[in-house]
Structure formats: structure tokens, C-alpha cells
Amino acid sequence: MMQKIYDWIDERVDITPLWRDIADHEVPEHVNPAHHFSAFVYCFGGLTFFVTVIQILSGMFLTMYYVPDIENAWKSVYYLQTEVAHGQIVRGMHHWGASVVIVMLFLHTLRVFFQGAYKKPRELNWMVGVSIFFIMLALGLTGYLLPWDNKAYFATQVTLNIAGDLPYIGDFAKTLLAGDPEIVGAQTLTRFFAIHVFFLPAALFALMGAHFILIRKQGISGPL
């Protein structure tokens, strides 16, 4: 049955080469921890991706309860945390995942840096990767406000003050992020929500797509 469905689709859209591009390739010995235990450093990138998937899934479930509004944001999180079945676990996964993904990205970056794996021809992929790092930090910054508790509110106020004090672009940057040059309030929360849930993930997916296509095009860097 499955084979028939596959054949039916393959006859029309020729998916076999796509599948080959994704899965049909060899893994060299020097990145395989089964042969050299020290090759576990090559797991950091994959684990970063794994945590990113956890973040996407847990985040999708969080939005089923979360209300991006200053009256209800905190209450919806409190309700999720105390009343909803497994709500504490899902929120916990999203909370800790945000820290773990930074740690894994950091380790992955250090691996690539100290192995000099960013050298020609992989310069572009390094820059894509550093951009992913910046996007992740921005996701952490915007996500921190969403529970609308004291630590969220006051940390964001400090961040926005720093943004507002920047030369030339200060007022513009602060107004863009907060929705108002002075007030950190209702507009700020909806903007941070939109940035956190739509804008940054869109950028993240595009960059991750580019990152993986480049890896498959260029292969993993050779042994040192």
C-alpha cells in the first residue's frame, strides 16, 4: 500500500531525487562518534537543531493558551502553569529549551571556530550560522517579555532604554520595538509577541534552510 502511494506520487512529481538529496549520502569516519569518541563535538549542531524543533513544537502548544494582552498575558501563563494538564511541562520545555539552545549553539560555534571549519569555501555558511545565533538571541530577548511578570517587564524596560539611547536611530528603534517612544505597555507586548512568533521564526527558518542546503552542497569539512 505505502509503496503504491509512493509510486503514484513519484510517477507524477519525481520525488526520488529529492529523497536522495536529503538522506542518501555517506557520513565520513572523522565525524562519527562510533569510530572516534572525540567526534561527539560534531553532535552539537544536530542537537541545536533538535532543541530548535522542541522550541517550535512547545511554542505552538503554548500559543493555544497564551493571550498577548497586558490584562490577560500573565493570567493565561499562570493558568497554564497551575491548572492545565502538563502545562507546566510544556512551558518548562520552552523555558529551558531557550537556554539550552543558546548553550548548544555556543558549543557548535566554538567547534566550528577552533577547527577552522569556516575557511574557504565555507565562509558563507559561517555568516549564515552567526546570523542564526543573532536571531536566537533576539528570540530569547522578545520571548522574555511575554509572561508579563515583573522580571519580564523591568528587563524589557532596561533593554528598550538602551535601544532608545543609541545615537541617531535610538528613538526610531525604541518606537519600532515598543510601539511608543515612552510607554512600555500594551503595544510593546503585542509587538514583541508578533516579532517572537512570526517575524523571527520566519527569518530563522529561511536561514536554517540555507544553512542545511549549504552543508549538503559543500559537505562537512575534512579532518584536521
Binding site: A23, E26, V27, V51, S99, K120
Partner: protein, 258 residues
């Protein structure tokens, strides 16, 4: 049978007859034992992922995600702190050479140089050598950056008493508790000194914790009212034993209604 299983296109095909197929890189140039990604290697990756997930879920269950009180913009006493991975930038802005008139230094120049350097690393370190010891400038700059970030984070986090912070900012859902102000116990509560520190809704304040969500018996409450506990001094309650009894029962009942 070039594509798929004898695929034929109707009319104008957009796939040229001699289209170059994507040919995966051949790792025969690397000596040793290569392994097929699918399914052999993926199975091992799956195992690593499973072990990682167990550890991650254990962390999640052992330490629930923190939630503080609902944001109160009028709370002037609150000391703001960013999430831990921004602590180093936050700490940098506290130094004299990076704040006040030199704010640009701390907010733009230093982080800009560090992160710009990281972004452009392949062009700054463009030799052909890959081993860390063969490119001492790149390696030492990265180590310097690492040490500074770790040190700044440490400096920022060291002075914070995380437990006290968490205790002071415990979340309280305000409407959840209806205080029965007709209760004789509430009269005692407001006529004695209790209300001055614990607030008119038992919500607590700067000097005392909330009396909602506590797990104490009437006897324990009577003892604390007389003898104090923690930073609460003894002798706060000066009424009769009957009033003490009413007070304790009132506080216990306020906790039961939840």
C-alpha cells in the same frame, strides 16, 4: 527511465533532458570507514537524541519554569535583571568606561567589534591553516572573548541572591482569594499590627510575605503571631487568647477557600 519510474511529462516540461542531477559528495577522499547516513548513522543520532531528551526532560521536571508576580510598572523597588545569556552585556554597561558619556563604547563599539569580528571571522582569518595552534591570533582573540564573556557573566550573577529574589516575587493570583472582611478574625487582624505589614487583603508587602497560600495549622499561626518568625519580631500580637484563636482560624479559613 531517467527520472523516477519512467516519468513522462505532458506538454511543456520544465525539466530539461540533460539536467545535471545533484550528486552527493563522495567521501572517498577521506580515508577510513564511511557510513551511510540513512539508516545506519541516523539510528545512532536518534539514540544520542533520546539520551539528550531524557536529560532535558529531567531538568524540566526538576525545575519548573519560574513565574514572578504580574508586572507592576509602579514597583520602583524592583531591580531588573535580563536573562542569563544577556548578563555579560548588562554588566559591561555598568563600567565607567562603558557608561555615562562613554555609553556608545559599551552599547555599540565593544559589542559591535566583538560580534562583527565573529561574523567576519572567515575574512579576518583567511589563511589556509586550520589547526588552532597554526592561527594564534584568531585562537587567542576567541579565547579572550570567551574569558571576558564568562567573567562578565560571573560578575553580574555573583551579587544576586537568586533564592531571595524568587521568594520575594512568588506569583499570586489576586482575585482567587476572597477575604471575608466581616469575619471576627478580620477585625482582630486589622485592629492588631498584622494589617500594617501583611496588607488589607493578606497580600503581603515590602516588610512581610503574603498570608495567602501558606500551609500552616492554627496552632502554628498562633505561635508565630505571638513569638514571631524570620524577620517578624515577637510580641506583635497583644490581644486576648480568644482573639488570637479567631485570628488563627480566620487565616486558616482564608487559605482553605482557595
Amino acid at each position: 527511465m531517467k527520472k523516477g519510474k519512467g516519468m513522462q511529462f505532458v506538454g511543456d516540461s520544465r525539466i530539461t533532458a540533460n539536467k545535471q542531477k545533484f550528486i552527493p559528495k563522495d567521501y572517498s577522499e577521506y580515508p577510513g570507514k564511511t557510513e551511510a547516513f540513512w539508516p545506519n548513522f541516523l539510528l545512532k543520532e536518534w539514540l544520542v537524541g533520546a539520551v539528550f531528551l531524557v536529560g532535558f526532560l529531567s531538568l524540566t521536571m526538576a525545575h519548573p519554569a519560574p513565574l514572578e508576580k504580574m508586572a507592576d510598572p509602579t514597583d520602583a523597588a524592583y531591580i531588573p535583571l535580563p536573562d542569563w545569556y544577556f548578563l555579560f552585556l548588562y554588566q559591561l554597561l555598568k563600567y565607567q568606561f562603558a557608561s555615562g558619556p562613554y555609553f556608545i563604547m559599551g552599547a555599540v563599539v565593544i559589542p559591535g567589534l566583538a560580534f562583527g569580528g565573529l561574523f567576519l571571522a572567515p575574512f579576518l582569518d583567511n589563511g589556509t591553516k586550520r589547526r588552532p595552534f597554526h592561527r594564534p591570533i584568531a585562537t587567542s582573540l576567541m579565547l579572550l572573548g570567551l574569558v571576558s564573556v564568562i567573567w562578565l557573566t560571573w560578575e553580574a550573577a555573583e551579587h544576586v541572591d537568586w533564592e531571595v529574589r524568587a521568594e520575594q516575587n512568588k506569583p499570586v493570583l489576586e482575585e482567587a482569594v476572597e477575604i471575608d472582611k466581616e469575619d471576627p478574625g478580620y477585625e482582630v487582624y486589622s485592629s492588631q499590627a498584622c494589617i500594617n505589614c501583611h496588607g488589607d487583603n493578606l497580600q503581603g508587602g515590602a516588610a512581610a510575605p503574603s498570608l495567602i497560600g501558606i500551609d500552616r495549622s492554627a496552632e502554628e499561626i498562633m505561635d508565630i503571631a505571638k513569638n514571631g518568625t524570620g524577620s517578624m519580631p515577637a510580641g506583635q500580637f497583644e490581644g486576648s487568647d480568644e482573639e488570637l484563636q479567631q485570628l488563627a482560624e480566620f487565616i486558616v479559613s482564608a487559605n482553605k477557600e482557595e
